[in-house]
């Protein structure tokens, strides 16, 4: 089984994923955010892939590596996989969903939801300053 936890930044996907992992048998967490950080570290030039983007989800390699990462993670660990990730672009969501269901037809898709003010409060409680540069980047993607 693969459980994709979608939802806004700050809604609590990672925290819920950890609790869900404890409640399900033989389950691990694969965080696609790490794939994005990896691509950033190896220097994939975002501006070459799609102009005026600062989002690693716009990199086709990120989407492919996310799917392949889940495949590898699952194969090596022989466990169910929880994938917490904000995927708001419908094309990207469909691409990743299509890839994951080929890996495991038992794909469960959930989207965590909350009021925007609640999400902002949760982000603040995690130390995210919505007035900072990073915070503004997140804030622009909350709606």
């Amino acid at each position: 089984m693969i459980v994709l936890l979608n939802g806004s930044f700050g809604v609590g996907k990672a925290t819920v994923a950890r609790h869900l992992q404890e409640k399900l048998d033989k389950t691990s967490i694969f965080n696609p955010e790490q794939v994005g950080l990896l691509l950033s570290r190896v220097g994939v030039p975002l501006h070459f892939v799609k102009s005026e983007t600062d989002d690693f989800q716009d990199i086709p390699q990120w989407r492919r590596l996310t799917v392949e990462g889940v495949r590898l993670w699952r194969h090596v660990l022989r466990r169910n996989v929880i994938v917490p990730m904000t995927i708001a672009n419908p094309e990207y969501f469909d691409e990743i969903r299509s890839g994951l269901v080929q890996i495991d037809p038992d794909l469960r898709l959930f989207c965590l939801m909350a009021e925007l003010q609640t999400i902002k409060t949760r982000l603040n409680s995690c130390g995210v300053d919505l007035a900072s540069a990073d915070g503004r980047w997140i804030s622009a993607r909350l709606a």
């Binding site: 609790h19 869900l20 409640k23 419908p90 469960r108 959930f110």
Partner: protein, 42 residues
Amino acid sequence: MSKSFLRPGYGEPVETETLSAVQVADEIKRRISGQAAAATTF
């Protein structure tokens, strides 16, 4: 009512507004358990 990801198609909605993270995990587990599982092979 304004909610993030209100548009359909991003997964089965799970309301978290009044629930703790543990309760949300419980709810997801309940839904998973209530659905027939497709065959899984590793």
